[in-house]
């Protein structure tokens, strides 16, 4: 059985006394659209000052939110112009819903008081905000150094099991992906190098190119970038969620420093694991180079190994490993900081993971550039 839908009807007329009678009839349904602002204003304006609007819903057959919306908007406009509304002619449940919609006063004054500032002020504001973020991160770095000091002084709340767990997570489990990427990087470098070196008949120097590049630069850099995406993001999401669940607050109120308990094991694990991963990356890169050299250039394995041995020095290796340790610390601190500074909602945790990856990759590459320049100045 379908009920016949009668289209909504809205009409009004001025009574002799100066009141305006508003007649509502038919079915008021959202599908028929809402009443526009001009009509509302017209009705309210038609009232003689001091008189009221009288609602008459005698012909009303049915209604949904569209009618409530029209009436609450009308009530607000009427209030603003000091016009009273007589709602006694409306069904009682409709009147209650309108009361409900108007029961809680508009709390727009609780929103931020400042409107949109001019562009220059916005730019300055954003700059200051970034300076604040930079300072906060520097403070976080300082805190982690203090936490390390406490660990060496024997008064740290860090648990050994947390450290071992973090080490397993960012060490052995990351070896396959680091090796895979490094083999490919070594292969690509060897290929590009071979094309150029062949012009001089100096193909054998592919081993020097790949060896030095991997050990000094690419091994540590590739491992750091992979770990930023893999572990840095995980740290940020992990700590961000703990923040969200009041786990970090619970640590604080228990008197346990979250730096000791959460950040330090992760920082130590990654700072230790990254040099080890870099060794794997170096070997895998050179393996990739050797594979291409033997297939494409006809350089056999003993020759390649010998050539590499002459080219790569212990200094190169140490430089790469020291860098790896630094990169590991950068990735861990950035990831943990993004997590601890995350806003306390689901989107905040997502943003924390994203910015952990982006920020740590930027910082790692910037640090690498600085070290490369410095080492060339010093002559290493």
């Amino acid at each position: 059985m379908t009920e016949q839908i009668a289209p909504k009807q809205l009409s009004w007329d001025r009574t002799v006394s100066g009141d305006v009678a508003v007649h509502l009839s038919g079915h008021w349904l959202v599908e028929q659209g809402l009443v526009d602002d001009a009509t509302v204003a017209e009705i309210v304006d038609a009232v003689t000052p001091g008189r009221a609007i009288v609602l008459d819903a005698a012909g009303l057959l049915g209604w949904d939110s569209s009618l409530i919306e029209f009436l609450t908007r009308g009530v607000k406009v009427a209030r603003a112009r000091n016009v009273a509304i007589d709602r006694s002619g409306t069904p009682s449940d409709l009147a209650r819903l309108i009361t409900l919609a108007l029961a809680v006063p508009d709390q727009s004054d609780r929103r931020r008081l400042v409107g949109t500032p001019p562009p220059l002020a916005r730019l300055g504001g954003r700059l200051l905000k970034n300076v604040d973020i930079g300072l906060a991160m520097l403070g976080f770095f300082g805190d982690s150094v203090l936490a390390l000091g406490r660990l060496l002084g024997g008064s740290s709340a860090m648990r050994g099991t947390d450290f071992l767990e973090a080490l397993t997570e960012c060490g052995p489990r990351a070896v396959p992906i680091v090796c895979l990427i490094s083999v490919l990087v070594g292969l690509i470098m060897a290929f590009i190098g071979a094309v150029q070196l062949m012009k001089f008949g100096a193909q054998v120097y592919v081993a020097n190119l790949v060896g030095i590049a991997m050990v000094r630069e690419m091994g540590a850099l590739m491992a750091a970038i992979i770990m930023a995406g893999r572990t840095g993001a995980a740290y940020a999401a992990n700590l961000g969620t703990m923040q969200l669940n009041d786990e970090v607050a619970a640590l604080r109120t228990t008197g346990v420093d979250p730096m000791d308990f959460l950040v330090l094991p992760r920082l130590l694990a990654l700072a230790l694991a990254l040099p080890l991963l870099t060794i794997f990356a170096n070997l895998a890169g050179m393996l990739g180079g050797a594979a291409l050299a033997s297939i494409d250039l006809g350089i056999d394995w003993p020759l390649y190994v010998n050539q590499t041995k002459h080219a790569v020095t212990v200094t190169d290796l140490c430089l790469g490993l020291v860098k790896a340790c630094l990169f590991g610390s950068i990735v861990a601190i950035t990831g943990c900081w993004c997590g601890m500074a995350a806003e306390r909602h689901a989107a905040g945790v997502g943003r924390a993971a994203t910015s952990a990856v982006v920020l740590s990759i930027v910082l790692v590459i910037a640090a690498d550039a600085v070290i490369t320049v410095m080492s060339s100045v010093v002559g290493i």
């Binding site: 009920e3 819903a57 009303l60 057959l61 049915g62 209604w63 949904d64 069904p91 449940d93 409709l94 209650r96 819903l97 009361t99 409900l100 029961a103 006063p105 709390q107 609780r110 929103r111 931020r112 008081l113 400042v114 709340a157 947390d162 703990m242 669940n245 009041d246 786990e247 607050a249 619970a250 640590l251 604080r252 109120t253 228990t254 008197g255 346990v256």
Partner: protein, 280 residues
């Protein structure tokens, strides 16, 4: 708005004293000029409608967030503005349970309860485990020592959070919405547990809640935070406030709005689906 104060003046030194506390979130004012005292052995309720800043106030009281201005004193020692060492000493003597439990998800229950014991006592690991199991048994979770928080129901997580909060036999226990998300029976049992712990440990209890049943069942002092004027508008025993407080907001809150016309819209919500397509 005038303050409705039905507390009886006490000559005893207060356990917790809040003076002129103002709370901001960025540039948004949450609450201003809060002044109240909690006596030893009180079950003090921080109540108010949702969004009135109750949980934020709690974070100021337990030393998590610094208030914009004002002081919080524990037996005369302030926690904001004094040294880290004093604050840590005070924090050692309070226990906090969080709205969502706040249990460390990577640890089993017994490990959760053990952390404060390991931090502040010189017990060996066997003794720590014994004591942690005892605390779990006190909240009715004997046998769940090696479960992870995610394996428990909401009510059990709250009780485990409570076990952790009482690990160091605190003088002052804080609860953030203990009964939120719990069924009435579980919530009632938690209330009984809070009362029993208060009596057995001799602790003072501060509870943030808007559960009327709990407020009247266990509270003997309270502060009412009003989200509109953004300050406290009522102080004292909730049962006396119910009888004597003339402020409509407080009265409506304590009576679920049944004596004022606020009930009418509440009923209309239930009636709305029927009315939507009904004959008018």
């Amino acid at each position: 708005m005038a303050l409705c104060d039905v507390t009886e003046p006490s000559s005893l030194p207060p356990h917790l004293e809040v003076r002129n506390l103002t709370s901001m979130h960025g540039d948004v004012l949450i609450q201003h000029d809060l002044n109240f005292t909690v006596q030893h052995g009180d079950i003090f309720i921080v109540m108010g409608p949702s969004g009135s800043g109750k949980s934020t106030l709690l974070r100021h009281l337990v030393g998590l967030d610094r208030p914009a201005s004002g002081t919080v004193r524990y037996e005369g020692t302030c926690i904001w503005g004094c040294g880290e060492v004093e604050r840590e000493q005070i924090m050692r003597r309070i226990g906090v349970t969080y709205q969502s439990g706040g249990l460390w998800s990577s640890m089993t229950l017994v490990e959760n309860v053990s952390v404060p014991l390991q931090r502040y006592t010189r017990l060996n690991s066997h003794e720590v485990r014994e004591l942690a199991s005892l605390k779990l048994a006190m909240v009715g979770l004997a046998g769940f020592e090696d479960h992870y928080p995610s394996e428990l129901s909401g009510g059990m997580q709250k009780r485990a959070g409570l076990a952790r909060a009482i690990a160091l036999d605190p003088d002052l226990l804080f609860f953030d919405e203990p009964s939120a998300g719990l069924d009435p029976v579980t919530s009632r049992r938690l209330d009984d547990l809070i009362l029993a712990l208060r009596d057995n440990l001799g602790a003072t209890v501060v509870i943030v809640t808007h559960e009327l049943a709990s407020i009247f069942a266990i509270g003997n002092n309270s502060v009412f935070l009003d989200p509109e004027s953004r300050t406290q508008i009522a102080l004292g025993d909730p049962k006396i406030l119910l009888r004597e407080c003339p402020i409509p907001t407080v009265h409506a809150f304590l009576t679920r709005g049944s004596d004022s016309n606020l009930l009418a819209p509440t009923r209309a919500v239930a009636a709305a689906p029927r009315a939507a397509f009904g004959q008018a």
